[in-house]
Homo-oligomer: 135 residues x 2
């Protein structure tokens, strides 16, 4: 069901400083930046070779990433896997009795169809599926 790793999500305190750090230190390049008001975050996708990281800065302390930042500090937040067909993927996970955060796909960055799987079914890892279509 998994086609590969789409990106790794990293919660940061301040997005501009984090962007500069990853651009300067690791030579990554900014691919896209977007305020996702309904998720309470500003997000920036960076490319490093054929890999991607997503920097997430909370818009407010009471958003999900704001609470994460207060509880655990900045750092790794989630891993996102590419799937060809997210409806089929969610159906298969439901059949395997995996606990889903999103029963149905919703809209993520760049209006891609995404869904989150609960960490209780993945050994403590907040896990995102991203539909990328057939490759």
């Amino acid at each position: 069901v998994i086609a590969g790793i789409d990106h790794v999500g990293i919660v940061v305190e301040e997005i501009d400083a984090a962007l500069r750090r990853y651009q300067q230190t690791f030579g990554m390049s900014l691919r896209h930046r977007e305020v996702l008001a309904e998720h309470g975050v500003e997000a920036a996708m960076l490319a490093g070779g054929d890999g991607q990281i997503e920097l997430l800065a909370p818009l407010s302390p009471d958003s999900a990433t704001g609470r994460f930042l207060q509880a655990r500090g900045p750092g790794l937040h989630h891993v996102a896997y590419r799937v060809e067909d997210i409806d089929t993927a969610l159906e298969e996970l439901r059949a395997a009795e995996v606990e889903l955060i999103d029963a149905e796909p919703r809209s993520g960055m760049l209006a891609r169809r995404i869904a989150f799987v609960h960490p209780s079914s993945t050994g403590g890892v907040l896990t995102e599926l991203v539909e990328v279509g057939e490759s």
Copy 2:
């Protein structure tokens, strides 16, 4: 300097249960399994499409991953980037005043040359470089 994401490292309590979970739930396949006594862990590399995750189970509570498990519970531990030449990469990071955990490359799983970068230079993310040679 970064060619892509090599793998995402995940700390687990018990490697067999975690392996089964990722194999059954996400259809990943076991690529390699190894006890790395000097690092105090048993590690398993799984492939999901063209992505990889590394499951890490501490061999003892006082190992680095054992302490991580006690402090934070199971979950995301590090992200590893592919580099073509790790000596050049470390030289560039030193020149950028990035704090390194490993000043010189050491031997990781499958005897690959690896080095860890300190989270203080990466926004709280334990970061590994893995030399994969020219692609």
